[in-house]
Symmetry: C2
DNA sequence: CCTTGTGAAGTAATTCACAGCC
DNA sequence: GGCTGTGAATTACTTCACAAGG
């Protein structure tokens, strides 16, 4: 279902844009000025025709015989991804995972700033994590309002996840990244992406032919 | 590309099996004995026809007019996913993320045990993480051999990821879960799954219509 | 030349809709 | 009556292959 006002870009393409963005950032850092669809495809680990079709969806013009201008393409993709400004995020749950995410370099670099981390456990509240201090869950709305937060990250145990989602929605959050292994129920207009780390391992396990016992070791 | 010896199951189905597995585990814990495709679909947040088609791929028999036997279906799916035994895993990188993963309850519960965590930084080596002690990267092969590890988890900075992958492959690992934002080059027969947390946020950002500034706050 | 952009072909995944069985 | 299992229809995605432009 296309978002009104913007020509619809296939979901599969959207999922690859961040990948191209990453590769282009690397190329730019190396001082490269142009890149062909084939080179970009190699870097991104995909097929060259796919790169061209993906980029064609938002009318980004390469130059035939030459390729794409790295700087220009990067700006285009960043603009498509709404990365021309930084996104403040708030994390609910200051356990192992939440705490790690709060100081995770991989976010800060790529357009996202964690502006708050919350918990309900008094033992965790007040703890310092880099420049952040763990605050009480009830401060959620204040933080969201003060920092104009649109993205919430759920890093609580599964039993608490639905409650956390409700509070985030209540506070005005419209996008949720959910690390809890639970299907969240949220109102229309709020988008959820689930990251279940065990699922990823289970998919790997599926494709492992040999059972672990039979490895050519002992 | 189907794995020899097993009837090919579509990748999209494989990716959902862990989700069904999770929901069925919950149902079982609640004491439910049967479930219809529609109920399971609701829990998993997908369409009922999809559930039926997915399950039909490995010939799991439900009962018409009744539904599926929870226990039986759970065993079937676990068996498809090779979850009838536990999978030992090793983590490379004992920074924030690696350390969090090492003590992450979400793995242990679901068929995966972290049996080792490694780093190169002397400041981290020897550190205690729950029942584990951070060891030197050079101990990788010993751990893999001793514990019959087939799955490696990369949680190092991007610049070190390819090297880590090479060492894992060298040590005999055939499946890699990669948290570093880099496309890894590995030999045929080694499978990689990438989890780039910033990518997930970027996809959310894409779908956010309003720029963060324009929220109805101040 | 080389490389893009894109119709057309091919493949995969989803959903429909209903026959068949409990 | 209710629910599964599945062919058929639909939709989405990928890949090919080539015309057109630098």
């Amino acid at each position: 279902m296309p978002v009104s006002g913007r020509a619809s870009i296939p979901e599969a393409t959207v999922a690859r844009l961040p990948l191209y963005h990453r590769c282009l950032t690397d190329l730019q850092a190396e001082g490269r000025t142009t890149v062909s669809s084939e080179q970009l495809a190699d870097l991104a680990g995909v097929n060259a025709a796919k790169v061209r079709k993906d980029l064609s969806h938002f009318g980004s013009y390469g130059t035939r015989g030459v390729g794409y201008d790295v700087d220009h393409l990067l700006v285009e993709i960043a603009s498509e991804l709404n990365l021309d400004h930084d996104w403040p995020c708030v994390i609910v749950g200051a356990g192992n995972l939440g705490s790690a995410l709060a100081s995770f370099a991989g976010f800060t670099n790529r357009g996202f700033t964690v502006v708050g981390i919350l918990d309900v456990d008094p033992a965790r509240i007040g703890r310092e994590l880099g420049t952040l201090t763990v605050r009480h869950q009830d401060d959620l709305r204040d933080i969201v309002d003060a920092e104009h937060v649109a993205i919430g990250i759920i890093a609580v145990p599964p039993a608490a996840a639905q409650d956390a989602a409700g509070r985030l929605v209540e506070a005005g959050i419209t996008s949720i990244l959910n690390f809890a292994p639970t299907v969240l129920d949220v109102p229309d207009g709020v988008q959820v992406r689930d990251v279940d780390l065990a699922v990823e391992l289970q998919i790997l396990a599926f494709h492992e032919q040999r059972p672990a016992r039979e490895r050519p070791a002992g």
